[in-house]
């Protein structure tokens, strides 16, 4: 008897497990393999959470999440992008964007439905699509297009089974962002073919070049978009696991139906902290300007080492090409770790078209960043 379900065993384990294991047994490692801020959650947010615990807020919340938090999120989305999502029924608080993403797919995907996603992308999109019974249809984006998804490439992949498009800009791992015009063209394709757009905008605040455009704010997209966002990146709150989905009430209600049975509610302490976080935009601005300095430092540093490096517009990753070294992404990452104790993520774990690239996070201190670049320089000299 096979114990593990086919649906699960067909998914490969994460390609970064190996690096994690090697790094864990080493001393003096500098990790550019991190996908989270190096800042600790701002104190006023932590303090609000502690205060809530002192006052005894330790229970379940409504399945939807605390109304105060949903109202604050609704206000924020309205202020930033002019879209109104009703805090009652239009917004669902989840245990991180990861949960929201899973719910979104499960709420709308029937077996065999196709979901278009652009690669390189966050590692969970494909597996989650498969778990939800859907078929991922990947569009490769390349450096020649600045890793931006083009509407015509989406259109080419559409079949009568296509149900949804997954968008994730600013992008992990490339740092690419899409202009409003590019997004509008994708919106037109979504309208023409009656598709849902799942827009993961977790890095929206970390935009350095141009302004972030919320996909829901585009013409006709309010109803069609499942907007996903959370607190992890902008407020340095990864461990709190608080995210949310906003969208039309029919879809959010369906997501809520799954959420109430599998998760019940997001942790109340995190929700309490998130309410305070929405009052802490100054802290976010401070962190963003520091990321921006490091971004420039790292891009210039990588280029000086002779690596060709695309200029990222958002998130906190650089995505240099290591093709000229003749090594695969994985070989490069493994040797760099073993020889110079620097962790980077092989681009190949983010999709086949990520081969030949490595993801280097600049969510590390300026000192670590400089040290890591020196080590990479030494490593490159040995090749």
């Amino acid at each position: 008897m096979t114990v593990i379900a086919d649906r699960v065993s067909q998914i490969e384990g994460s390609g970064i497990r190996k690096f994690f294991d090697i790094a864990q047994r080493m001393e003096g490692v500098i990790s550019l393999g991190v996908g989270e801020p190096d800042f600790v959650t701002p104190w006023s947010i932590r303090e609000a959470c502690i205060f809530s615990l002192e006052k005894g807020y330790t229970s379940y919340t409504s399945n939807w999440g605390l109304l105060d938090l949903r109202e604050a999120i609704s206000d924020k989305i309205y202020e930033e992008s002019g879209v109104f999502y009703d805090p009652e029924g239009g917004i669902l608080i989840t245990t991180g964007v990861s949960e929201a993403f899973d719910l979104a797919l499960r709420a709308i995907i029937n077996p065999g439905d196709e979901v278009i996603l652009h690669e390189p992308c966050y590692v969970s999109y494909k597996p989650c699509t498969v778990f939800a019974g859907g078929t991922p249809v990947c569009v490769a984006t390349g450096v020649e297009d600045k890793f931006e998804l083009r509407a015509e490439e989406v259109a080419e992949k559409i079949s009568d089974k296509t149900k949804a498009i997954i968008l994730s800009y600013p992008n992990n791992p490339t740092g690419a962002a899409l202009s409003k015009k590019d997004l509008e063209e994708i919106a037109d394709v979504a309208t023409e073919h009656d598709l849902i757009v799942i827009s993961d905008e977790i890095y929206d605040k970390l935009t350095y070049e141009g302004e972030h455009t919320c996909f829901s704010s585009l013409n006709g997209m309010e109803e069609r978009t499942i907007l996903l966002n959370g607190f992890s990146k902008a407020y340095a709150m990864t461990g709190w696991r608080i995210g949310y989905a906003a969208g039309n009430k029919e879809i959010i209600e369906a997501m809520m139906k799954i959420h109430q049975y599998i998760m019940l509610c997001a942790p109340i302490t995190g929700q309490m902290a998130a309410i305070e976080a929405l009052r802490c935009d100054d802290e976010t601005d401070r962190m963003v300007s520091e990321y921006n300095r490091r971004r420039r430092l790292m891009v210039a540093g990588l280029r000086e080492l002779g690596l060709s490096c695309f200029e990222p517009k958002g998130a906190f990753y650089t995505f240099p090409s290591i093709e000229d070294t003749g090594l695969t992404s994985e070989e490069f990452a493994e040797r760099l770790l073993r020889e110079e104790k620097v962790v980077v993520i092989p681009g190949s774990v983010c999709g086949d078209c990520g081969e030949g690239y490595i993801r280097c996070s600049y969510a590390v201190s300026q000192y670590e960043l400089k040290d890591a670049l020196e080590r990479m320089g030494r490593f490159l000299d040995t090749l």
């Binding site: 690096f19 994690f20 989270e36 420039r296």
Partner: protein, 163 residues
């Protein structure tokens, strides 16, 4: 001040040991331009000095500091300035600030021993003609100086690899 000057000040206030080249990269400016702006800021006295923030306790350097609250009778022509400037000139004095509230000046004095600090206040500050009254508050422990917390928060708790 223009935005380029502000950006450079922001970078230096965070880390003054960066090279001009690194600052140029962070600010997306030419190195020569950064050099020019910094020397202009220096010559204008906007950038006064570059110093390190040292945790003396950890370094095992025994010092005594006291915050002296001083009540002043201001002078007709120069107000608080002339006496504040006079007090500033002593090397033992680390900072001199005019404050609102019960007292007028808040002065930080550094010495090797409590005795030395107390003597300095009694001999040099208290006798000044404009000084009406002083209160000496010895510092017992520092938790944060110049915006830097002394006992840094847990670092290295992040996973080495996360996506």
């Amino acid at each position: 001040m223009d935005s380029k000057e502000k950006e450079i000040i922001g970078i230096l206030e965070e880390n003054a040991r960066l090279s001009d080249k690194e600052i140029a990269r962070m600010a997306e400016m030419a190195e020569e331009e950064v050099k020019g702006i910094i020397s202009k800021l220096e010559s204008k006295g906007i950038i006064i000095k570059y110093k390190a923030v040292i945790n003396h306790e950890k370094a095992g350097i025994d010092t005594v500091q006291a915050l002296i609250d001083i009540k002043i009778s201001p002078e007709r022509s120069t107000g608080y300035d002339s006496v504040a400037v006079r007090i500033s000139k002593y090397p033992e004095v680390q900072s001199v600030r005019l404050v609102s509230g019960e007292y007028d000046l808040s002065v930080l004095v550094l010495g090797k021993t409590m005795h030395e600090v107390a003597y300095f206040v009694a001999e040099k500050i208290a006798p000044l003609e404009q000084v009406r009254n002083t209160v000496t508050n010895f510092l017992l422990k520092s938790y944060k100086e110049y915006g830097e917390i002394y006992e840094a928060e847990a670092k290295g708790k992040r996973l080495a690899v996360s996506l």
